[in-house]
Amino acid sequence: MRFAGIDIGSRSIELVIVDESGEICQSVQADTGFDPMSETRKLMDGIRYDGIMATGYGRNLFEISFDAPTVTEIKAHARGARAFFPDAQTILDIGGQDSKAIALADNGRVKKFEMNDRCAAGTGKFLEIMARALGFSIEDFGRAALSASKDLHISSMCTVFAESEVTSLIAKGEDRQEIARGLHTSVIRRAAGMLNRVSAAGDIVFTGGVAKNPCMVELLSEKLNRKIRVSPDPQMNGAYGAALLSAEDHENGLMKSNS
């Protein structure tokens, strides 16, 4: 049997298929665009599965269109992280428009979480806009920041204010790699604050698209002096977790009907 997890995020949609043993058989991805449901339909075209669970900010839309169960990103990421790292206690997920710090109990259940408020401060969107302001592609942004020898302090966490701060630093002739590093540091400060509120020590599993940024991983480790663990494809972690939860739901359903 095959179980699907779909994570409809603000920037991208991920679909992961697992088999009964939880092994990933297939994973695909697309940009969310402005019509998430038609992008989702395209992505799901020809994909075969026996159960599906949706997560991400588009989950409720999916629930209506596809009559499928949903789970929050928080639980989905917790499940996905545990599958890769069975002893995971703390998770940082930074996606397109949300960032979350999650603490897990020993049994893997969510014990506590923190999530950013309404604005894009400290999220992938923030980094994306700043990369554009500095003329970097999102793929090169982290590497460029990592190559800087020092970071320039960026005081504003607001995306709009930070962008004008960046513009004035450029006008002052500051090095753009150092500005880039400063921006990464400012996101890390915020993420570290959230993490400290949910958990004091131990390794951190970093998930979400922003975990692909090498500068973020290094700065986070430096700032907290804790080991950062990243799965092979952190952006897929939510969809993977949802797929595993779908498989578990199926199993629990079988157990119930047999008893």
Binding site: Y57, V71, T72, I74, D98, V110, F113, D117, R118
Partner: protein, 418 residues
């Protein structure tokens, strides 16, 4: 009637349209509602209709109307002087551009809303009031009343203590005596031992009816939704007291039968949530709507529009006006508002409510920029978690732009409780 009150008719119609459709989507869409809620549906449909007509009729017969923004304004004193006390509108954003010419942008939604209803000329309660009572609770309200004083010509400001000390109590008593004088001057009616005793009885009966309703929410499955429970607490501030009391008891009779029949608003074992924090005034139904469409049920409100406002009864043993004024001071002095420092009693009350209502978790509801409650939310969360009670702190306003993020947080919190 509306033109006589000086309302802006187009704006008022627009407000009623929004209110009506929100009520339909949020309230009438609920399943398994008690039949007795039909009374509250009717009250809400006439909140800017028949109820205002009644108030205008009272005015025509010489009765005075007093508007209030806070549970510290004693309704007993108004009633004893043959006046009617009504809660004033402050639960929705209105005329925000005009409001932000008078108040800083980072003022809490409740204060901004009170101004919006005045500036937009859409609150018939405010316009029909012969006296508007402001009270020195938080700094935001205290300073905002200075500006409100320029918009209305009948503002009365009541001072309130900030510490639960003997001096604080003396201050409250002085202010209640001053308020009594002001109400007597307004109405031309002298408060007597008899009229005050009867007023205390009326308000005690109203609160006791709510206590009965609240205690029925302890059952699992809970016989009434949190949305409907909140609505009863909201209507408390608008309705005719005796009719309100009778209607709440009628619902309670029905709820007792529902409990016997194990009929709930939601299935048994639905995760139960206690909401604690800032007041939720009509039509601020944002949080309960999110919670109760996310697989949980709200079983209590630790709030001014809820148990903080209605918790205690006034001792009715006094026989002179003096003794009864003391009893009122004793009663209101117990309100555990976050303007008090320290305010340890509130934490005890939250824990007691969480236990009594068998809450699986507490959501701390804070209005953005509401310093007193946001300050308390951090120690409240810490204390609850130490006791093993999960707590989610939410900070929001009346806007809808954070609905998606709020829903994710609440759903994740509910997943955590299951």
């Amino acid at each position: 009637m509306w033109t006589d009150l000086g309302l802006d008719l187009d704006a008022h119609d627009a407000l009623l349209d929004v209110l009506g459709s929100a009520y339909k989507d949020i309230y009438l869409a609920q399943k398994n509602r008690p039949e007795g809620m039909a009374y509250f549906d009717f009250v809400m449909s006439e909140v800017h209709g028949l109820r205002i007509k009644e108030i205008m009729d009272e005015k025509a017969s010489g009765r005075k109307i007093i508007g209030s923004y806070c549970v510290f304004v004693p309704e007993e004193i108004a009633l004893a002087a043959n006046a009617t006390l009504v809660g004033l509108c402050s639960g929705a954003d209105f005329a925000m551009e005009e409001v932000e010419q008078l108040l800083p942008r980072n003022t809490c939604a409740l204060i901004k809303s009170a101004f919006g209803f005045k500036l937009g000329k859409v609150c018939p309660y405010l316009e029909s009031a012969d006296m508007i009572v402001g009270e020195n609770t938080c700094d935001g309200k205290k300073k905002a009343y200075e500006s409100l004083g320029h918009l209305v010509d009948n503002l009365y400001v009541m001072d309130l203590p900030q510490m639960k000390t003997e001096n604080g109590k003396v201050l409250l008593k002085g202010e209640y005596l001053r308020f009594k004088d002001a109400v007597e001057t307004l109405t031309g009616v002298t408060i007597t031992a008899e009229s005050l005793k009867s007023a205390i009885g009326v308000v005690n009966a109203k609160r006791a009816a709510l206590h009965r309703l609240c205690s029925l929410r302890k059952a699992d499955p809970t016989p009434i939704s949190g949305l409907d429970g909140l609505l009863a607490n909201q209507v408390f501030f608008y309705d005719n007291p005796a009719r309100f009391t009778a209607s709440v008891h009628k619902i309670c009779d029905e709820l007792e039968i529902r409990i016997q029949e194990k009929k709930g608003a939601f299935p048994e074992k639905t995760p139960r949530i206690l909401v604690s924090g800032c007041p939720q005034a009509v039509p601020n139904w944002k949080l309960p709507m999110i919670v109760e469409t996310s697989g949980a049920v709200i079983v209590g409100e630790e709030s001014c529009v809820g148990e903080r406002g209605a918790r205690n009864l006034t001792a009715d043993t006094g026989s002179t006006v003096d003794e009864m004024m003391d009893a009122l001071v004793d009663r209101y002095f117990q309100v555990d508002c976050a303007i008090f420092t320290p305010n340890d009693q509130r934490l005890l009350n939250i824990q007691e409510m969480a236990a009594a209502y068998k809450a699986d978790g507490v959501i701390h509801y804070g209005l953005q920029f509401c310093q007193p409650y946001l300050m308390e939310s951090i120690p409240v969360e810490k204390a609850l978690e130490e006791k093993g009670i999960p707590c989610l702190r939410i900070e929001t306003d009346y806007g809808m732009e954070d609905m998606g993020q709020l829903k994710t947080r609440v759903e994740a919190f509910v997943e955590q409780l299951r």
